[in-house]
Subunit: 367 residues, 2 copies
């Protein structure tokens, strides 16, 4: 397992614009897993209305925003700490707890590792198996938790799209609680899952004091440019520690107003769930019919795909699709993946159809 | 010198709203040093136009923003690193360099100390003398730099309003260069100074490789809610170190668009300089005529004031003015200041007149 990988992410349409002279507005970006509905009109309006108020500092306690979030996820406002994207909360978890040894199931989102390394944690990988569709097995995971101070679970997992089932999660959390192991449970994509309320760790924060659940507005509310996320825990000592390390006003006032409005737009929330469910099924079915591709079963808004053709690499495929205005995620820089994996977001029907057609053309032409 | 002080800042109108049931929109906030013109109409328009694009991640390199900044301050785009307010750059300076011992002239902005402590730096204070209007004396400062790894200079200094003259700055920088001492030069308020171009360290980055100049959009462009600042240095090793610790996308896309637009609005920039110059003189003159107050000479957009009346404390004065809808900064929590100091921002004529009238009433009534 090659662990010398870079931390490049998807969604960098600026680089594509520079390299290929394609206007960034014309790129169909399947490389970032963002709600295809775009930003809710209610969010847009809230941002516009809040502009004049940005001549003041943001509320250092973000009271209104924390209250909105706590209503949305049905917890106490004191259980919530907001951040500049989920990313800030992830970094604060490591900075404030300084775990000596970390277990990270891989492949997964690379910022956990970067954050852990900057806080001098030692990393142990738990390689998920391709033959099991990268599914996490709780019993196997627990066997690898000896001498570990913190565990990261990304649920659903990026880039595999897999979820940890409720009973399996309980098993892991029970073990971690008994061994004083901190758990960072990243649910950045959970709102795209059909029965999210059954698998979320938010319901478990009362039971497990070593649990920090992280969520983001980025993906589900289609606003990665706005940078807003939050952490949820009943461990007020942990919140105190996080606040001791938190830089003041890291969430800007426009993002705060956007967040409050986003959670109110129930029509947008319902429509998103509907579209993603339908399009996930459509895109998966269509990808399955392309013989040289093997899409891996997913529960969320992106699909990890194995390239079966020996002649085609992830890097080559990504590069070849750019002139068509289609950007996919070369997944080879995820630890425990290789040059045979790419990831695509589930977008709207028109975009998904375009992706399928470009993929079909690509192999037909044998470029 | 009492060094056990809290890190509370001005500008928290949310707390006032809660405590006094005054709508935050009705508070005249002299406690935060923000351009009274509010946000430039060009900035407002740029934010609105950029909202739809926030369905993409920000450019991780912030190329357009760095180019705008580099044109504005006449440096190379590679010399610029952008941050979530100047605050992020300040924290990154300490996190990436981990200086063992710091010298901080006091009183000054408290986040330097907080950032230094979180990076395990040992702090030495250099107390500025009230009898010299808290002016920095270069020769005295240099005498205190033995065994120090990093120096912070806030120029103009918050909360004193004093500047370090060009020759004095050169003297300090030359000494620091010779002794391998890092210098963090915070110029968050420098654009309010009449002859800023003569005292800025930006012109010196080519000469001093141990120098990081920090600037903010917050104050001069009247947008503290938007969170945007930057660091400038010719030391590319330092920029590399800072980037190694920087969290991705910490500046949101709306802030980035706002920054580009702000620097283009030359009318706003000129009008601000004009108003601040005129109002600084007006407010200083009026304050000087109040017998129980002693305003300290200032070069920027705020005034530190000593309370001469033995019966009146900074805390008491601040509390008493709130019911009038006027919020001033109790400066007693600055290290090397005490219960006899308050700070007020220079605002527009109407607000400044109101402040003066409320202060005059206060003592007349003997509340």
């Amino acid at each position: 397992m090659n662990t010398q990988k870079d931390f490049t992410h998807g969604g960098n349409i600026y680089e594509i614009q520079k390299q290929f002279s394609i206007e960034k507005e014309k790129i169909l970006d399947f490389s970032a897993n963002i709600n295809p509905l775009g930003i809710s009109p209610m969010v847009k309006e809230a941002i516009i209305n809040s502009i004049p108020f940005q001549q003041h500092y943001p509320d250092p306690d973000y009271t209104e925003l924390r209250e909105s979030i706590s209503e949305y996820i049905k917890v106490n406002p004191d259980d919530v700490v907001v951040g500049n994207g989920a990313t800030e909360i992830i970094y604060l978890f490591f900075r404030s707890l300084q775990p000596r040894r970390m277990l990270i199931p891989v492949p997964t989102f690379s910022e956990y590792e970067r954050a852990a390394r900057l806080s001098h944690s030692r990393i142990r990988y738990f390689p998920l198996k391709e033959e099991n569709d990268f599914h996490i097995n709780a019993a196997q995971l627990i066997k690898n938790l000896a001498d570990v101070d913190a565990l990261v679970l990304c649920n659903p997992n990026n880039p595999t799209g897999q979820v940890v089932a409720e009973e399996q999660l309980m098993e892991v959390l029970n073990f971690c609680e008994s061994q004083d192991i901190w758990v960072l449970l990243d649910e950045a994509f959970i709102e795209f899952v059909d029965e999210a309320s059954k698998i979320t760790g938010i319901n478990l924060i009362g039971k497990f004091k070593n649990l920090l659940v992280v969520r983001a507005f980025t993906k589900f509310f289609g606003m990665p440019g706005i940078r807003l996320g939050y952490g949820v825990t009943k461990n007020y000592q942990l919140i105190k520690k996080i606040k001791a390390f938190k830089e003041p006003w890291s969430v800007n006032g426009l993002a705060s107003a956007a967040g409050v409005a986003a959670l109110k737009d129930k029509a947008y929330i319902n429509k998103t769930r509907e579209i993603i469910k339908r399009e996930r099924e459509y895109l998966f079915r269509e990808l399955s019919q392309i013989k040289w591709l093997n899409p891996i079963q997913t529960y969320t808004n992106f699909i990890l795909i194995k390239i079966l053709d020996e002649q085609i690499t992830s890097t080559g495929l990504r590069q070849s699709l750019i002139p068509y205005g289609v950007l996919i995620r070369d997944a080879s820089n995820f630890i425990n993946l290789n040059e045979k994996f790419v990831r695509v977001a589930v977008k709207d029907r028109e975009s998904n159809t375009r992706l399928i057609s470009v993929l079909k053309d690509y192999r037909r032409e044998g470029i």
